[in-house]
């Protein structure tokens, strides 16, 4: 199914011209991303720009997972959808936009909830995973599935005016569990539906997720992306802060040499809430 072309067509030369003349990318970078497959989990605020820019750049195969349907309240930030898609599956709507933007990108829409029963089968088909989800349980699930299948994970998150970006499980760097070994108490976790978000904050982080995925796909100079956390705060000065993260934990339960976790778990139980829950604080109302 994956194309394995060693050259670009005339149509590709025309379309990707601005990248082909780009020092440090060029034809070899373009061929590398053409032959890579990237899975985007979540076609919401983060997944929308990430999918759009990955498809536009010429990534050969994109998978997009989302179990939700487009609602009017999504359109403030989920800019891969539009009015005419309301009620449609988000994964399908995202695929339609991508096909309209770049028909050369092969896109698979997964209209399902990623969980412990299907994550490994899907993720193992891709080279890179973009976590664009909105809850802690799915974030641990994706991390564990990426470690078990050996895939680099580009993780983004956004809430209110803040955003975060990191690359896990890449070039010997830490995994998500190395940094966050215990999940936060469920009552401290908010998603965008309950905590609010300025739409363009997800835009900034989603674009940066696409960037990091492209750099990984094209084997570009990593310069420490495997061990750093970018913190974005839309109403602070400076807007961005880069943090040096710890290394891989020698006793990480999943990514160390002697892992105690070797299969996917029950992440809803682990976190005390899951993808289908409203935030506990809201449930109490």
């Amino acid at each position: 199914k994956l194309r394995n072309d060693n050259k670009l067509s005339l149509e590709e030369y025309l379309r990707y011209g601005r990248q082909l003349i780009l020092p440090g990318f060029g034809i070899s970078g373009q061929l590398k991303i053409k032959n890579k497959s990237i899975l985007i989990v979540g076609a919401g605020g983060l997944g929308a720009p990430a999918a759009i820019y990955l498809a536009a750049a010429g990534v050969g195969n994109l998978g997009i997972i989302d179990y939700d349907s487009v609602e009017s309240s999504n359109l403030q930030r989920q800019i891969i959808h539009n009015e005419s898609r309301i009620g449609l599956s988000k994964a399908q709507s995202a695929k339609m936009t991508i096909q309209g933007l770049n028909p050369l990108c092969e896109c698979v829409a997964y209209d399902l909830l990623l969980d412990s029963s299907n994550a490994l089968d899907i993720i193992k088909k891709y080279d890179i995973v973009v976590d664009a989800t909105d809850n802690a349980a799915t974030r641990y699930l994706i991390n564990d599935a990426c470690v078990l299948t050996g895939k680099p994970l580009v993780s983004g998150s956004a809430l209110r005016m803040d955003g975060q970006l990191a690359v896990y499980n890449y070039r010997g760097g830490p995994c998500y569990r190395c940094i966050f070994s215990k999940p936060p108490p469920p009552e401290t976790i908010l998603n965008c539906d309950d905590g609010g978000v300025l739409g363009v904050v997800t835009g900034v982080i989603g674009c940066l997720q696409a960037l990091q995925a492209i750099k990984i796909a094209a084997d570009m100079n990593d310069d420490g992306i495997s061990q750093s956390l970018l913190i974005f705060s839309a109403n602070s000065n400076p807007l961005f802060r880069s943090i040096k993260l710890r290394s891989k934990k020698p006793d990480c339960v999943i990514c160390s040499n002697n892992p105690t976790i070797t299969t996917l778990q029950d992440y809803v139980q682990f976190c005390g809430s899951g993808a289908l829950d409203k935030s506990p604080s809201v449930k109490l109302l």
Binding site: G42, F180, L229, R241
Partner: protein
């Protein structure tokens, strides 16, 4: 001879909501909160809990450290690289408490 040291605190990613929505605060604390040992991160976290936290301390601390889901940065570096609770606070250190985000 416990002199005062200045510490720049930053609360971010939602942690600031526990501190009256204040994102940055410069505090002065004794260089040896527990003589004769120099003030450590452990002392600082307790000091913040006792002096700055308004309510619901369980949303900030758990045992004698910060609760899971709060990342601590010492001068823009993950505190795990700096000795975590045992790190000795220096004058003008910049300490950040940031909540990990899950939205998207």
């Amino acid at each position: 001879m416990s002199s005062l040291i200045k510490v720049n605190l930053t609360f971010s990613g939602g942690v600031e909501l526990l501190f009256n929505n204040i994102k940055q605060k410069i505090i002065e604390i004794p260089s040896t909160i527990n003589p004769p040992k120099p003030t450590t991160m452990k002392d600082l976290i307790l000091w913040i809990k006792d002096n700055l936290l308004q309510e619901r301390s369980e949303l900030f601390v758990s045992g004698n450290t910060v609760r899971p889901g709060i990342l601590v940065l010492i001068n823009d570096t993950d505190w795990e690289l700096e000795g975590e609770l045992g790190y000795e606070i220096k004058d003008n250190d910049e300490i950040v408490f940031i909540s990990t985000l899950h939205g998207g």
